[in-house]
Amino acid sequence: MKNLKRYLLFILVLGALFGVYLVNREIGVKGFQMTVSSFIQMLLVLPPIFILLGLLDAWVPHKLMVKWMGEESGWKGAALALFLGSAAAGPLYGAFPVAAVFMKKGVKYSNILIFIGAWSTTKIPMFLFEITALGSGFALTRLALSLIGIFTIASIVNKLVSPKEKEKIYAQSKSL
């Protein structure tokens, strides 16, 4: 029963896909194909990310992470968070479990937000690809704007979320 509830969204969407299939076969089949192909893509990318996470969790001591990216880490911590997010591979949802491990290890909230921002939009391999696809004018302008955006969004969210709420989020990360 508990498991069924966890898979509720998946079951509902499958039902909706089936409903679409009954109304319009072409769109329904396309939806199923997309679902299967993105699931395969996901299965290709995620296992190494989670294994790296497990290794990080097991090997990198709490103290070191606090020193590198914790409360007292200053601009170096922010720069490291930006670099780690940019060096990552994979879709944004791959960043959330990494962020949870970072929280468990005592990384500062604003640095977590910078990490998420960098992972979402300044990934280095993506940037190189963006240049080849859309031109360096477009890619460089967007990179410069993204850097502004990442730090602005991180600092606004960091200010608006109260210390108490942060405590709750950090406590929850331990159960994930």
Binding site: S38, G54, L55, E130
Partner: protein, 170 residues
Amino acid sequence: MFAEKTNGRKKVENIILYALTAFLALSSFFIDKGKTKQAFKKAWKAFEKILPQLLGVVALVGLVLAFFEPATISSLIGSSSGWWGIVLSSTIGAITLIPGFIAFPMAALLLQNGAGYGQIGAFVSSLMMVGIVTLPMEIKYFGKKTAFLRNGLAFLFSFFVAFIIGRTVG
């Protein structure tokens, strides 16, 4: 047209990721078997916890993408579509979840087919930074407040990107 090239690139990226993981896992195993076992246990537990949401998200993406054709998109977001096109581009970017390796060639195609630079800037920016379909996952990790704030601000930010890129590029 771009599919083969992007798949190739993606493959190379994936091989590097796997090779790095295999190297680190093996090194870890030789240094400390117990710790490595613990690491794999943690990896599996974390994966299993998020799997239901991931499956839901993936199916939702399939459902949404089935309705959106690139041709439909480009007819709506040409450079003459102005702010209306920008708002539409940002919204499409926010609700779809297309990997960059597919999105960039698609954006290039859209540009060739008459989409505007500002609109494409808004689309790419919101596609990367805003995730409506992954919101349930984000809430699970960060709580409602952070998730809504981050996505809301990133959505507004895509208009700024559109404004600047529309003026300076193209």
